[in-house]
Symmetry: C2
Subunit: 242 residues, 2 copies
């Protein structure tokens, strides 16, 4: 089973205080870019892989989705999602994405925000998602960018001249990376950008857009500390069609 770090008390408390947990989608700076990749949701059936507190599930219903299924491995997150979702057309299921089974041809959109880089057997999951999408259905997801997940010791480096760089190593050596983020020993799976894309192509998806996300000038004006994120993109956003 995937490490269920979200049910670790320290991690959960820290995660709950992040802007994206408190404010929801608008607290996530990459949300406008991710939203731009989504199809029209009216009357559609939507799947959210790693739904967390259910912010996207509720947003999808507001945008007219007929039904939304949110899946997460964390009991704590699902408990809060359920408590804040008075909507019979949103279903929350607890499942480990490593071993997920889904009905064939059921969904028009499979969505996932910052969850897939925790999955060791991503090929199995994306294959399951592919068969669960209706013909013409969309897959839209974000993950931590491979430049972000690659290094053995991720973090900015500042040289004598004050130049800030992001030191890359291990980029082509895929596999687990253990980092301390909100809690000690969080395990992420590093894979290259090419691996994400080729996996989709081999499974029969047509790639429609790739984005190496960094903050816009307007976002940097309101949050000057984000400027560094343009040195190396923190997130990878991908859209594909079955």
């Amino acid at each position: 089973m995937t490490q269920n770090i979200y049910d670790n008390e320290t991690f959960f408390e820290g995660y709950s205080r992040l802007a994206r947990s408190v404010e929801g989608l608008n607290g996530a700076p990459e949300w406008p870019a991710l939203q731009a990749l989504l199809p029209d949701l009216r009357g559609r059936s939507v799947l959210d892989l790693g739904c967390g507190f259910g912010w996207f599930c509720r947003w999808a219903r507001q945008r007219g989705a007929a039904h939304v299924l949110g899946i997460d491995v964390s009991e704590r997150m699902l408990a809060r999602a359920r408590a804040t979702t008075p909507d019979a057309d949103i279903t929350y299921d607890r499942a480990d994405l490593e071993h997920l089974d889904l009905p064939a041809g059921r969904f028009d959109l499979a969505y996932s925000s910052l969850a897939l880089h925790y999955i060791a057997d991503l090929h199995r999951l994306i294959s399951t998602v592919h068969q669960a999408l209706a013909a013409g259905g969309s897959l839209v997801f974000s993950v931590e960018h491979p430049m972000y997940t690659a290094p053995a010791r991720p973090g900015w480096s500042v040289d004598a001249a004050g130049r800030k760089t992001w030191p890359i190593d291990g980029y082509l050596d895929e596999g687990p990376r253990t980092t301390d983020w909100l809690a000690k020993g969080v395990i992420k799976q590093h894979r290259t950008l090419a691996t994400y894309i080729n996996m989709l192509l081999r499974l029969g998806f047509t790639l429609t857009h790739v984005e190496e996300w960094g903050p816009t000038p307007t976002q940097i004006q309101s949050q000057p500390t984000w400027a560094d994120e343009r040195q190396r993109p923190p997130f990878l956003l991908v859209a594909a069609r079955r």
Copy 2:
């Protein structure tokens, strides 16, 4: 016009001594991976953008291509290509790839090795190539990897513990980068991996494969100094179909 660095005497002399210039395709460690992306060439019409000494043009003819057109901006390189190509079905034309015009639907394969990262207006060139390909035709190219072209001061960094990293900055800020490689002041164009891919998609190409190339274990055994190139890939290889 694109900087024609290949006709700079210092650069040309240095370039002529590289393994890929002396030994041809087999002197380029990424060649096996690039070759694996090529379609069957028998009876096909082939275009080589930045053909240099003509190694690929001659190889394509050996593989049964009906006709090969090699294009390069460098007089010196074309002179050597012509002198070493006794084959009436290979044509070499001098042209600046920034302003290239090509007949519609003429080619089955457009190929380019390590040339497109010199092109400022790549959208114009790829659009020209798209209309010059027959339906179902292939585009296969390599460029310096965006992680390689991004930094203001590209080069390995070694920390006190002997850990070697590649310091990234400026990744999301596309545009010219001036480096000293074989000669002073070589101008390359940095663009992100997403920009390469989205350009193809928007122009109507279907992406078929992306490779962030690094040496294989076998290659590292015979050339141990190449091991570092697995820390961050030096080349990006892309295959797409019209």
